[in-house]
């Protein structure tokens, strides 16, 4: 049974179909990539899964259970955590409190204050931010804020982690570190569902990739299959006539 699946997931904004009739299935333990040109509906799909938006029509299942219509905090407590494309850290709170909040509120069973503090410290260590735990989150670099979002999401003890463009805006070294981080999250046994524009990163780290275009799923497969798909190449590079325009 897939850990996360969507059936006919659709979302209209006015007359525009941001996501149209998308079926997907993320398997336990894999790194599943989601790519597509700007405006393809990738973040909207994440918002639908994390319940920031409600699909209409369509259903989303987590471990076989229909979770459509639940509240974002319930989705999180069930074991689906996410990060954001434009970072949303708690800027005026110290790094440590950011991570501790995830542990205090995001787990299914709740956590004692002592355990939450320990969990936060461990995860800051995991993402490499222990040295900055007293710094207000807004003073971190973009790369570190993104790491903090990962630590905060992991603190909620998710079974699946959704990363929304974690590599965007990072330099080459930071991208390499980010790729490493994704691999070590997978090694913890957490399924990863990631949106990414940085092709090098996504091709090297993903087991399978889904491609969205104008809200519709146009391809799915291993990185090799996706890279050689004519349709995908067309979408990304434009048709022959448009090339170079």
């Amino acid at each position: 049974m897939p850990i996360l699946e969507g059936e006919g997931v659709t979302k209209y904004f006015g007359g525009l179909a941001a996501v149209l009739n998308v079926d997907f299935a993320v398997e336990q333990g894999e790194v599943y990539g989601l790519i597509g040109p700007n405006g393809a509906g990738k973040t909207t799909l994440f918002n639908l899964i994390s319940a920031a938006l409600v699909p209409k029509p369509g259903i989303i299942k987590f471990k076989g259970v229909n979770i459509t219509g639940k509240k974002p905090y319930q989705i999180c407590r069930m074991g689906i955590a996410r990060t954001f494309q434009t970072v949303k850290v708690f800027g005026n709170l110290p790094v440590f409190e950011n991570a501790r909040l995830g542990a205090l509120f995001g787990t299914s069973t709740g956590m004692s204050a002592t355990d939450a503090a320990k969990e936060a410290a461990d995860l800051l260590d995991f993402v490499g931010l222990s040295a900055m735990s007293a710094t207000p989150a807004k003073d971190l670099t973009l790369a570190n804020q993104k790491r903090l979002e990962v630590a905060r999401a992991l603190a909620t003890k998710p079974e699946i982690l959704m990363l929304d463009e974690m590599m965007a805006g990072l330099n080459a070294t930071e991208i390499a570190q980010g790729t490493e981080l994704v691999n070590s999250i997978r090694d913890k046994g957490i399924t990863v569902f990631m949106i990414e524009h940085v092709m090098k990163a996504i091709m090297s780290v993903c087991d399978r990739i889904m491609v969205l275009h104008h809200g519709e799923k146009i391809a799915e497969g291993t990185p090799q299959e996706i890279a050689s798909s004519k349709k995908v190449v067309e979408v990304y590079l434009g048709e022959q006539d448009d090339a170079g325009s």
Binding site: A52, K71, N92, E97, F105
Partner: protein
Amino acid sequence: MDTARFTSKGFLIPGIIGLVILAGLATLPLYGSLYNVVLVTTILMYAILTVSWVMFSGSSGYLSLATATFFGIGIYISTLLLPNTGALLPLLVVVLIGGLGSSIIALGVGALTLRLRGIYFAVFTFGLVILVLELFNWWEHSVSHIRGRFVMLVDNDIIYFIMLGIFVATVLTYYFLQRSKFGLALRSIGENEEAAAHIGVNVTMVKVITFGISAFFMGAAGAIWATKLTYIDPYVAYSVNYSFLPVLMAIFGGMGQIYGPVIGAVIFAYLQEKFQTEFPYYYMLSFGIILIVAILYLPNGLVGLIQKIAQRLRKGGTGEEYADT
């Protein structure tokens, strides 16, 4: 851990200062004149409104202008239960009912409107003050046919002590709320509500409950304030000044520290009383000037100023206030 904060000097010294001030306040009727007792009662009333306003709006970032509504509901409950023809219930019970009544209204209003964000919430809460005022106007005019009500007389010392009790309860509640898991959740909402929701904070519940708690103290203060006013009509009870002044006092004092809103309210209310009696024609004008100066030169209020001075005295202090700026 939180326990570290209790043992550090950061807690001990303000704690001792607070106890000394409290002891001074508790014995005020013994050595103070009647004028001073009444003056401090007024100051305490504003301090309660300001601290309870900051309790919700300071952390959550939701600008509530509904203070006058909850204060006024407390006033009206007291007016109805303590008419000058004879009290229907004991004074303390009425104060409690005033608080609970406001709290229940706040929970209902909050559940309906706390999905409004930013300016929409502020405008709605302001509209609420007008709505409730007009509702009571209509009721007094068309249903009860009573123009102006009189509240029974209560000894000034008793009013003072009850107001002091509510004030202490408000400050303690605010203090423990800030340090609790619940308070942390509220701050995360103020920082970024969407992120808070996605890491498992039940944002609606946290906001509505805090709104309800803050309204309890506003209502309780209103209930006892009614016995000082003695004459009540809807315009007296639901004056929009009670919505705006706490906001100004909080900004003036600064919201970074717990003592900020208290200091802001104390100084502001004191000045208001003094100016109103000594320069009745210029007092609003001088107020405006003080506010403009405060906002231009003290962006973090008096608290910011105090911290700046303290830091300079320590010569590049440790910067331990990381979390509260």
